[in-house]
């Protein structure tokens, strides 16, 4: 995805449609992942990104290929937004040889080195250090690449985040901390476990923080572009709080969830705040939407079929790649 300078009124139409395509692809990917789980074709559990597409796509659309991201347990969206191939992703979800991690990582550990994705992480907040270190090397090696750290608001509970934000601020590292606030830490409302304010957590370290509408891909893109510009210019880290919502359960198995999240809250977000609908409306993309949707669905369906047919790794691979 090429970078385009954001106009205050929005983004140019080409970029807007490209973002729409990515978001549709994420949605289609997740629907298929869910279906693979439900039909018992996927081992284990997975955490779906549906509903949050505007965050990953808005952010990654403002990045270059050599910029790095670190991702989370809910990482498919970041991965696709940064340019990954969905067939290789499905292969990974199914534990197949051709997966991004040769089947060793699974959904929670997809990494796509070529596109700068340093990996999803199954430890909440666990990649905050890695992302900050990528910013460190960007600066130390004299490049102008930037590093994005995606994390859910649950990661605000992990002390590591504060340790590394302090260093990023001190050393003016080109790091963008992107907090995806989808309102829930698993089965607990974030308000029950989050004191004070979220932006304040960054501002305490002298890091500028912005509240962003995470359902508005253009707003996310613009906020990220500003942070990227600042980072490339040596201005140091930024922090974005993107208000968003996950449509599905915490993971694919989290079906009966009314005890922690009301059905009509879910419905309201889906009906009123869907990021794909909002972007399509903004671009007035009726026809293109249908075309893109059809294209993307075909691509994703083919990827699923490919992955289902793909071979498993040979069991002997189990002892490979322990050491480089």
């Amino acid at each position: 995805m090429t970078r385009t300078k954001a106009a205050p009124a929005g983004v140019d139409r080409g970029l807007g449609l490209a973002m729409l395509e990515r978001m549709l692809k994420i949605r289609a990917f997740e629907d298929n992942a869910n279906e693979l789980y439900r039909s018992a074709k996927m081992p284990g559990l997975t955490h779906l990104y549906s509903g949050e597409e505007a965050v990953a796509v808005g952010v990654c659309s403002a990045l270059r290929q050599d910029d790095t991201i670190t991702s989370t347990h809910r990482g498919h969206g970041h991965c696709i937004a940064k340019g990954a191939d969905v067939a290789r992703m499905f292969c990974e979800l199914l534990g197949k040889e051709e997966g991004y991690c040769r089947g060793k990582g699974g959904s929670m550990h997809i990494a796509d080195h070529a596109n700068g994705n340093l990996g999803a992480n199954a430890i909440v907040g666990g990649s905050a250090g890695i992302a900050t270190g990528s910013g460190f090397s960007a600066k130390a090696l004299g490049t102008d690449r930037v590093s994005v750290c995606f994390f859910g608001e649950g990661a605000l509970g992990q002390g590591l985040l504060y340790e590394v934000m302090n260093m990023a601020a001190l050393w003016k590292l080109p790091v963008i901390y992107v907090c995806e606030n989808n309102l829930y830490n698993e089965y607990t409302s974030y308000e029950e476990v989050t004191a004070g304010t979220i932006p304040g957590r960054a501002e305490a370290f002298g890091i500028p923080a912005a509240d962003v509408d995470g359902q508005d891909a253009v707003a996310v893109y613009e906020a990220t572009s500003r942070a990227v510009e600042r980072a490339r210019a040596g201005g140091g880290p930024s922090f974005l709080v993107c208000a968003t919502y996950r449509y599905h359960g915490h993971h694919v198995g989290d079906i009966d969830r009314a005890y922690y999240r009301a059905k009509d809250e879910e419905q309201r977000w889906r009906e009123e705040r869907d990021p794909i609908v909002l972007l399509a409306a903004r671009l007035d993309a009726g026809e293109e939407l249908k075309r893109l949707q059809a294209e993307v669905e075909a691509e994703v369906a083919a990827a699923v079929a490919y992955a289902l047919d793909a071979p498993y790794p040979d069991p002997s691979e189990v002892t490979e790649d322990v050491f480089a």
Binding site: C101, G105, H109, G157, V193
Partner: protein, 335 residues
């Protein structure tokens, strides 16, 4: 086998047994409380704590932020000042985050203060692979805590032991780490109607035998028992010894069995190198040296991060087949 036959029992899952232990101790002692992520309404992702918040309220079944070090530290402070917290660490892999609070703080509080302070803290967590959860949600890190003086470490295998040991842990005046194999929560077994505890530090012979001793921890007890069945068909009589707690370790029972059979296999789901299996093997190799007819053999998890793909993950864990093959080679029946 200590699961008693004389008393009235019911079949419970291990999950239910743990839930009962917590409920009974919460009822018995108002200073007991549970602290952890999603422990209240959700009853943890494994649903092990289901119903507790309804009976005891959110002040005693406390949902926390995702702050394992902080939770453990808060629990320790409460323990030092009159309470008996039970900390829920969702996955044993997250022990990585709490080692300072556990090993540098809780474990040393009593000793460093010359006996004046106490830390009656229980940490419940999980171990075990094959859930297709990949490298950061599948580890069995009990060897780390067993290595720390001042900690007690329980690795129960049955609902009976899980309940009885957890009750002992909560009543213990020391920090105790209890590991439950996440794949065992639906495992059923008899649990007495009446109250009981299982003392910490006493091994249990889960099956008596003459030819080979299999020392097995946690869910590996079932692997050992399955192997023992198969071996019986081959004419090999296997004794399965479950240490039940790693620290303190009931070396006497282990060594006695080893002396009796002269052949020992240790099966443990931690990585084999520098794992619990090394200590268990070293203890019997030294203590039963003059009685051993063959080297003590170890079967731990393969020394690789746990891979996601089922075809790979299944390679990493000890299986009944491997125990059988090892036992047969020890008795000279096959290679």
């Amino acid at each position: 086998m200590s699961s008693p036959s004389a008393v009235a029992t019911r079949e419970l899952t291990l999950s239910q047994a743990v839930n009962e232990a917590l409920a009974e101790e919460l009822r018995r002692d108002p200073t007991v409380f549970v602290l952890g992520e999603d422990v209240a309404e959700a009853g943890t992702p494994f649903k092990v704590l289901a119903g507790l918040v309804e009976e005891f309220g959110p002040a005693r079944v406390v949902d926390t932020p995702i702050s394992e070090p902080g939770i453990t530290g808060v629990a320790l402070g409460a323990a030092m000042t009159g309470m008996r917290p039970v900390v829920d660490i969702m996955f044993g892999d997250f022990l990585t985050l709490i080692m300072d609070q556990v090993a540098n703080q809780a474990a040393k509080t009593h000793y460093m203060s010359g006996g004046s302070l106490k830390a009656p803290l229980t940490v419940r967590t999980t171990l075990g692979a094959t859930r297709r959860s990949a490298a950061q949600h599948s580890q069995s890190l009990h060897a780390w805590v067993a290595h720390v003086p001042g900690l007690k470490v329980c690795v129960p295998s049955t609902p009976y032991d899980a309940k009885g040991l957890l009750k002992s842990a909560i009543r213990d005046d020391n920090p105790v780490v209890v590991f439950e194999d996440k794949m065992m929560y639906q495992t059923r077994g008899p649990v007495p109607e009446d109250e009981y505890v299982v003392p910490i530090g006493v091994a249990d012979v889960k099956r008596a035998g003459e030819d080979v001793t299999v020392i097995a921890t946690s869910s590996m007890v079932y692997v050992a028992l399955e192997a023992a069945e198969a071996l019986e068909a081959e004419g090999v009589s296997v004794e399965v010894v479950d240490p039940r707690t790693l620290a303190p370790l009931d070396t006497e029972t282990l060594i006695a069995s080893a002396r009796k059979t002269g052949r020992v296999i240790v099966v443990d789901e931690g990585h084999q190198s520098y794992g619990a299996s090394a200590e268990l093997a070293a203890v019997v190799a030294e203590g039963a040296f003059w009685h051993l007819d063959a080297p003590v053999r170890r079967l731990g998890a393969m020394d690789v991060p746990i891979p996601f793909s089922p075809v790979l993950e299944d390679e990493t864990v000890p299986t009944p087949e491997r125990v059988v093959a090892t036992a047969l080679s020890l008795v000279g029946k096959k290679g």
